[in-house]
């Protein structure tokens, strides 16, 4: 059986993007939420 390199190369690029897109934005959102919580706590203290 021969492998269809063209299709699977396109598929692999898509798959790599998918994996990166699950890991990186989750990390970035976590950091944003952490920063927001910190800011809110700071504001509460100031009040």
């Amino acid at each position: 059986m021969t492998i269809d390199w063209i299709t699977w190369s396109i598929w692999l690029i898509g798959f790599i993007i998918l994996v990166i897109w699950i890991i990186v934005p989750v990390r970035e959102f976590k950091e944003l939420i952490k920063a927001k919580k910190k800011k809110d706590e700071q504001e509460e203290k100031n009040e």
Partner: protein
């Protein structure tokens, strides 16, 4: 679809609603609502840009064109991606530094409030029209795919949850749900591609079964020929520089550098992604030949080759593609209305709370208008053609007066901007409706007229140099706060590597254009050269950022 598919879709919708409403409490001021407090990071920005730009038109409409006319339609996405890289490197950093929220706001800074009100007013309608068409195509595709014929039910399914979370969480909700939707979209496309390709005997089988011209990227003749590629590249440039949906996401970025990174990333990522929905369209050409409606090509592949549960997951991907586009544009219309009209004309002393309240109300109103408009679309006939005409007529003149003359020629006056814009729009409308030309030609008419009328009126009117013009010109340079925070972005790089790769970017563009023009004489290297040019262009864009 079976019960399991519907359960998956229901869980997905619930998840989106929950995720979207989480940010309700994050909205403290209008900037939070419009541009996510300008906190978006490069990957979140790229995800939200990609999710907004990919909708059912890509999965259904574009794949349908691939089914009927071949792979050349992929240039619609690819040239759009090239435009994103261009605007990310050269144009949007300037706009981001001005801390504006909309293009009409830029027009006020560059020209006068009158230009802002005129364009703001027209664009609220233009974006609402787009939303109606987007929703209509989604409803029709969902009907084909599921066999559920209730038009109203699908209108409600697509609209209600999207309107609610956009209304509550603004751009924060849009950004989070876009990121989630991007994952579903990509996962769905990754499932469909191997199934469709295996059904036709993989790529060699596809080549054997298709007419030769179907796999040719640049044609000499036909509807999607070299002229189409050229026209869509020009329209792409316009889209990349003035589209409110795209700009608003870009303005939400943490810094100017993030804008450039996010746009270049989104452009490059979207390029292989486009093949994931166009190849199944090509496969459908041999699997289901002679379909009466080409738009049914990919839904047919899905319905025939996907097992239950997987079909539900892929359907979520399609829903995601559409909902992300709707939510982003709803937010864009609300922003334009409140930012350019409400706080400037109707209530100049509005508090932050008032503005957010009005933005939320407008989101609901435009959502209702969008739902109503879907019932009108079938009666209008070719809705997609009508939409392309609207872009050609209304968007091209805006690009000419705002970006071409607004950023490149200080002497341009506000009167010239108004006359240039209106003359271009009217010329485009006359070419389309008076002379019966297609949208490509109408685009050339509107752009050409604006290009000529704007400088003519400028020379006839008194120069109106003011401090704001100098401010815009200063925004071409990296600002002090960027340098202090080590986030400086130079439009013309200061490093040797940066300048080298900026040069190769233009060489890539030249190779791409050479390929397209060679297509006009049917040269066999046309397709290869244009693709090589595009790859050089993308690689150079990425490396230019690396060597900042």
């Amino acid at each position: 679809m079976a019960a399991i598919d519907y359960i998956i879709v229901a869980v997905f919708m619930g998840l989106l609603f929950y995720a979207g409403t989480v940010f309700y409490r994050w909205i403290g001021n209008p900037d939070d609502y419009y541009v996510a407090g300008r906190q978006l990071t490069p990957f979140i920005l790229a995800a939200t840009l990609t999710a907004t730009n990919v909708n059912l038109y890509s999965f259904v409409g574009q794949a349908g064109v691939a089914y009927e006319h071949g792979i050349a339609i992929v240039w619609q996405t690819w040239t759009g991606n090239m435009a994103m890289v261009f605007s990310g490197l050269f144009v949007i950093p300037i706009l981001r530094r001005l801390k504006i929220r909309t293009i009409p706001e830029f027009l006020e800074t560059r020209y006068k409030p009158a230009v802002r009100y005129l364009v703001g007013f027209l664009w609220v309608f233009r974006l609402s029209f787009w939303l109606g068409v987007v929703l209509y195509t989604a409803v029709v595709a969902a009907q084909t795919l599921t066999g559920l014929d209730s038009f109203t039910a699908w209108v409600l399914i697509f609209s209600v949850i999207t309107i609610l979370y956009t209304m509550l969480g603004g751009m924060w909700s849009v950004a989070l749900t876009d990121s989630l939707q991007f994952i579903f979209m990509l996962a769905g496309a990754l499932i469909v591609l191997p199934l469709a390709m295996s059904a036709v005997g993989w790529f060699p089988g596809l080549v054997e079964r298709l007419p030769e011209t179907h796999l040719q990227l640049v044609h000499q003749h036909g509807t999607y020929n070299w002229q189409f590629v050229l026209a869509i590249w020009i329209l792409g440039l316009e889209w990349g520089c003035v589209d409110q949906g795209l700009l608003q996401r870009a303005f939400g970025a943490q810094s100017t550098k993030t804008v450039a990174k996010g746009l270049v990333l989104a452009g490059i990522i979207n390029t292989p992604f486009a093949l994931l929905w166009n190849l199944p369209g090509l496969a459908a050409t041999s699997l289901f030949p002679n379909l009466p409606n080409a738009d049914a090509a990919v839904p047919m592949v899905l319905a025939h080759y996907l097992p239950h549960a997987v079909l539900g997951l892929v359907f979520c991907g399609l829903l995601a593609a559409q909902m992300s586009t709707i939510s982003s544009n709803l937010n864009a219309v609300a922003t334009m209305f409140t930012n350019d009209l409400y706080t400037r004309i109707f209530n100049k002393n509005a508090s932050d709370k008032d503005v957010i309240k009005v933005a939320r109300t407008i989101t609901i109103l435009i959502g209702v208008f969008m739902m109503g408009f879907t019932y009108v679309v079938p009666k209008l006939g070719g809705a997609v053609d009508a939409y392309l005409t609207v872009i050609g007529i209304m968007d091209m003149p805006l690009f000419i007066v705002a970006i071409v003359y607004g950023l490149l020629w200080k002497r341009t006056t506000w009167q010239a901007a108004i006359f240039g814009y209106l003359a271009g729009a009217l010329a485009g409308a006359f070419a389309k409706f008076g002379m019966g030309y297609d949208f490509n030609t109408a685009t050339f008419f509107s752009a050409g007229t604006s290009l000529i009328v704007t400088p003519l009126v400028t020379w006839m009117t008194r120069p109106d140099f003011h401090d704001r013009i100098d401010l815009i010109w200063r925004m071409r340079q990296a600002q002090d706060d960027e340098i202090t925070s080590k986030q400086a972005y130079h439009i013309i790089p200061i490093s040797f590597g940066g300048r080298l790769f900026l040069s190769t970017l233009f060489i890539g563009l030249l190779i791409f254009l050479t390929g397209i023009f060679l297509g006009s004489i049917g040269h066999e290297l046309a397709s290869l050269l244009s693709v090589i040019g595009m790859i050089v262009y993308f690689a150079s864009g990425l490396l230019r950022l690396k060597f900042e």
